[in-house]
Every structure is written in C-alpha cells, then in structure tokens.
C-alpha cells in the first residue's frame, strides 16, 4: 500500500543480517505491509545461499492465527463427531448454537432433572414435559428467519438451503440427545429414556410444520400442545409411566416417520425457498 519498496542492496543486507538494528527494524516494518517486498525476500535469500523459507506460507499461517476466529465449543464437538470442518462451521453459526442460548437450555434441563430427582411423580412429569421440547426448540431457532440476521446474502449463495437446515437439525440431535440422556441418568426409573422418541417426533413435526408456518411458531405450537397434554395427564393423577407404554412410544415413532415424510414431500415450501416455489 506504499509506492516505496526496499532496494536490492538493503534487502541483501537484511537477509545476510549485516544491516544495523535500526535498518533491520525499518525493513521489517515495511515488509509487514508490502506483499511485493515480502515476495522478494526468498529470492534474495536464495541468491546468498541461505536456507529458503516459504515466507508467504509463514505469513499466511501467522495471519490465520490472528484473524481466524477460534471455533466454538459446539463447532469443535461437531468436528469431533466427524462433520467436515467447513460444514461444522456453517452449522455452528446459527444463533441457536451460540453462548447464552445453549447455556439457558442446559440450565432449564438441569432444573427439570433436579426436580425429577427431588419431586417424585410431579418432578418426573416436569422432566418429561421439558426434556422432549428442548431439541425441537433449538432446531426451530437454528433456521428460523427471524433469528438469522444475515439471511439475505445467505439466500443468494449456491449452498443448498435444505442441506443447511437438515445439517443443523442433525447437529442438534447428535449433540442434544446424548447430553440430555446423560442428564436424565440422575432421574429415577425409566424416565431418562421415555422422552427420547417424543423428542425425535417433535423435531420431525417442527420440520414438517415449518413448510406451512415459521419454524419458531411451529415449535411454540408443538410445545404448547405437549405441555397441555402433560398437564392434563398429571391433573388426572396419571402415572408418568403412561408415556413409557409401548403403544405410546410406537405412536411417537409413527409421528416422527410421518412428519419427516411430510417434510420431504413439502420441502420446497420451507420459508427460505418459498419465493421460488
């Protein structure tokens, strides 16, 4: 970004280290901002038989260390689970996977698990009410247009929108399900596993419903319906084991399969693709 460049003689003194400290510092200062002169350093070093270092690569590496943001914990987790680095980065950008939101979800789940341990039947109902909803809410936030501030430039890129939505959904399930399952191990009885199929069913239901409504509105509707169901069951003094019945679990499996099928059939109706439907 300057019209001045280091002359050959000065550059030779620099690579031979025969210049003064002040001259060396001056050249280095210039090299920081002049790619043209940096490129000449190797040539000068070769001419005086010094070991050649790929300065351009060193420079890029140094800049990477300074400029490239450190991957978030979630992104590193996705990489560890086998997702390619660039796709892990794309998934982890979503607001739903960032800082405060994830901590909030984890805190609510921990509270629900705590209530289940301490509060017997009512506590168990509370855990069963909350645990299946967390994944579907995070999925909804991960691709809801209102939570995507950079939507317009994203929309006109060649990356397939549906692939991004499904990647983020799978990422939620891959991370949230084992985490909640682990948390649920403190809950007595079979309840730690009872919420798994409802959770998968609700995620699929939100995907399917988001072809008609916004993902967040769909998740709120699903959550409200589930909370109402749990409240009615608890009010009738039913046992939490009602959710554990085989037919209930099969019903959630059918719900998941039917919802995912609906999503695949209606995938072009997702809000982000709707203008071109």
């Amino acid at each position: 970004m300057t019209g001045w460049h280091v002359d050959d003689e000065t550059l030779r003194h620099y690579v031979e280290r025969t210049d003064s400290v002040a001259e060396g510092a001056s050249v280095e200062r210039h090299l920081l901002n002049c790619a043209q002169c940096r490129a000449r350093v190797n040539t000068a070093a070769t001419a005086v038989d010094l070991a050649v270092v790929d300065l351009a690569a060193v420079w890029d590496g140094t800049r990477d260390a300074v400029e490239v943001p450190r991957p978030s914990v979630f992104e590193r987790l996705l990489r560890a689970l086998g997702l390619p680095a660039h796709e892990a980065q794309l998934v982890a950008v979503a607001s739903a996977f960032r800082g405060v939101w994830l901590v909030g979800v984890a805190a609510v789940l921990a509270f629900a698990a705590g209530a289940a341990v301490i509060g017997h039947a009512r506590g168990l109902w509370f855990f069963l009410a909350v645990a299946p909803l967390a994944p579907c809410l995070v999925v909804a936030f991960s691709y809801d247009r209102r939570w995507d501030p950079a939507l317009e430039p994203e929309t006109v890129t060649p990356y397939p929108t549906l692939r991004l939505i499904l990647l983020r959904t799978v990422a939620v399930l891959a991370v949230a399900l084992p985490a909640v399952l682990l948390l649920g191990l403190v809950v007595p009885g079979a309840a730690p596993f009872a919420w798994l199929l409802p959770a998968v069913g609700f995620v699929a239901l939100v995907l399917a419903a988001s072809t008609w409504a916004s993902p967040l509105n769909a998740a709120i509707a699903v959550s409200a319906a589930w909370l109402m169901t749990v409240w009615l069951l608890a009010a009738r003094a039913a046992s939490p084991s009602a959710v554990l019945q085989p037919w209930t679990q099969v019903a959630f499996l059918v719900l998941a399969a039917a919802s995912f099928g609906t999503f695949l059939v209606r995938r072009r109706h997702v809000r982000q693709l709707r203008p071109w439907r």
Binding site: H86, A150, P275
Partner: protein
C-alpha cells in the same frame, strides 16, 4: 461470451401493490446506475436480478440462464455478488468471520484458498487493518464495507449493489469507485444509490425508475445534456424555477423546467438533470395499486 442480463416485460407485485411494471432491460459489462425516489422499485429490481425474488410477470435471464429453473438459479448464484440494502450480522462476529462464513456458503471449502480470498476482498474495501474487529463495534460505513467485501468474493461477473456507499466517508467512496470501476471492465455492476455524484463519477449508463417503471434509460451525459440552459445562479431564488436553493457562496442555484436566456448559466450536474426529470413525472404514491 460477454456477460449479460436481460429482462423482458418484468413486473412484480406484493399483494395489491405493484412494485415493478413492464421493465425491459439489457445490461452489459460496465457500471449501471439506478436512480429513483424511495419506493420507486429499485430494491425490488435488484432483488430480482440477485435471484432473491422471482418476478410476478415477464422473464429474467442472467448470464444466459433462467433463475426460475433451480439448477440454473444455482449456477447464477455461483457467479453473483450481492450487497443487500439491509444486513444484520450474527452476534459476536468479526469482519473476517462474517466474510469467511459467506465464503463457505459460496463454496470455498478449502481453508487456505478461502482465507486468502477473504483477505483479498477485505483489503480491497480497505478493512484489512480491522479484520479482527467485532462488526458491532464498527462504524456504519465500516459495516457497509464488510457487506460489500462479501459481495466481491470470487470476483463475480455480476455484482448487484443496493446503496453501497451509504455511510461511507468521502475518501473511502473514492477508493470504492476505483475498485468498482476496475471490476466493471469485465463484470456487470448494477448499483442503486441516492448519491447522484456516485453515478456521475462511475456510470456510463443510468436507469431512472419511478413508481415501478423505467422513466429514463441511457447515457449519463445525455441526461445531463437535457438540463443544459436550465440551471443558473442568481442573487435571489427565481419564482419560475422548479427548484431553487442557497449555495455556499450565498447565491441561489435555480433549476427550471424551460431554458432561460439572460441569466448566469452554470454547468448542470446529474443531480440537476435528475431533479428536472423527476419534476417532469407525475407525482403520486410511491407504488401503484394493482387494478382489481
């Protein structure tokens, strides 16, 4: 093959509001300026060109491809840079992180090549020194340049820019003009702006939109020529002038619908010509209602 965009009978409605009507345009490489008042349909037209929006009527072809066909739309998007009017940024992102994210979506999976490209475009818009600064801590002009940087990724043959110089300081605007002029040697650059001086400095061709219709499409010099003899300086505002304002010298610049003799004529600017063109148009609502 020369890059080109063509629109034929293009219209776009939003509910009962007609944002664009009967637009026919052929665009070749160069910088094309888009002028018009608020609500004239500039952003709608740019969103159509950027494949963010389909037309309600007519056909659009970008680089010989039809954006209505999904595979061809993807091909267009591979060759497109778009700076929208308003963009938010994910919380906590730096300039580098944001442009890097868009580069991923633009199919640059290899980190080395991608990072080099991100640095190139940040340098091009003069943000290399603040690449690690959080976007939320940046000024409005710097944020605008971050969005411009992502549009420049991959040196696309089609560059759609919606008010690129808003909030950018004069020095940076000059730098950006140099960058855009260079890109326009081989690419189609369509930019909408309220800054007539940007159009005058950059564009050979200007399109004036009003209430969704093209009211002028031609050379900037020709539009300016239409104002010759209709702009003059005087000690007082002229009651016959269409617009009149006090300049920094204390004298009044008068712009009139008809040429005047016996006054101190001055060289008309594009702004004068634009104001005259606007004055010739019927005033009304910014967008037309669709007849039911």
């Amino acid at each position: 093959m020369t890059a080109s965009i063509s629109l034929s009978g293009v219209g776009r409605t939003f509910g009962a509001t007609r944002a664009l009507a009967d637009v026919d345009l052929d665009l070749e490489p160069g910088v094309i300026g888009l002028l018009g008042p608020n609500g004239a349909g500039k952003t709608t037209l740019l969103r159509l060109l950027a494949t963010a929006l389909p037309p309600s009527q007519g056909t659009v072809r970008v680089l010989g491809r039809d954006p209505q066909v999904p595979a061809e739309r993807t091909e267009i998007r591979r060759r497109l840079g778009y700076l929208p009017q308003e963009v938010g940024f994910p919380r906590g992102f730096t300039a580098f992180a944001f442009v890097d994210y868009i580069a991923l979506l633009k199919e640059w999976p290899q980190p080395d090549a991608r990072h080099a490209e991100v640095r190139r475009v940040l340098d091009q818009v003069g943000l290399a020194d603040v690449a690690t600064k959080r976007i939320r801590a940046m000024s409005g002009g710097q944020r605008r340049r971050v969005v411009l940087a992502q549009a420049l990724l991959g040196s696309p043959p089609v560059l759609i820019l919606d008010e690129p110089t808003t909030g950018v300081d004069p020095e940076q605007r000059v730098t950006l003009r140099t960058v855009l002029a260079e890109i326009a040697r081989t690419s189609i650059v369509v930019l909408s702006t309220h800054q007539t001086e940007d159009v005058a400095a950059l564009c050979e061709r200007v399109i004036v939109l009003d209430r969704g219709r093209v009211r002028y499409d031609g050379q900037v010099t020709e539009l300016v020529r239409q104002a010759a003899g209709r702009v003059w300086l005087a000690d007082q505002p002229d009651p016959t002038a269409r617009v009149s304002w006090r300049t920094g010298t204390g004298r009044y610049r008068n712009v009139a619908a008809h040429a005047r003799d016996g006054v101190e004529h001055v060289e008309p600017s594009l702004e004068d010509a634009y104001l005259l063109l606007r004055g010739d148009l019927p005033h009304g609502k910014p967008a037309e209602e669709v007849a039911s």
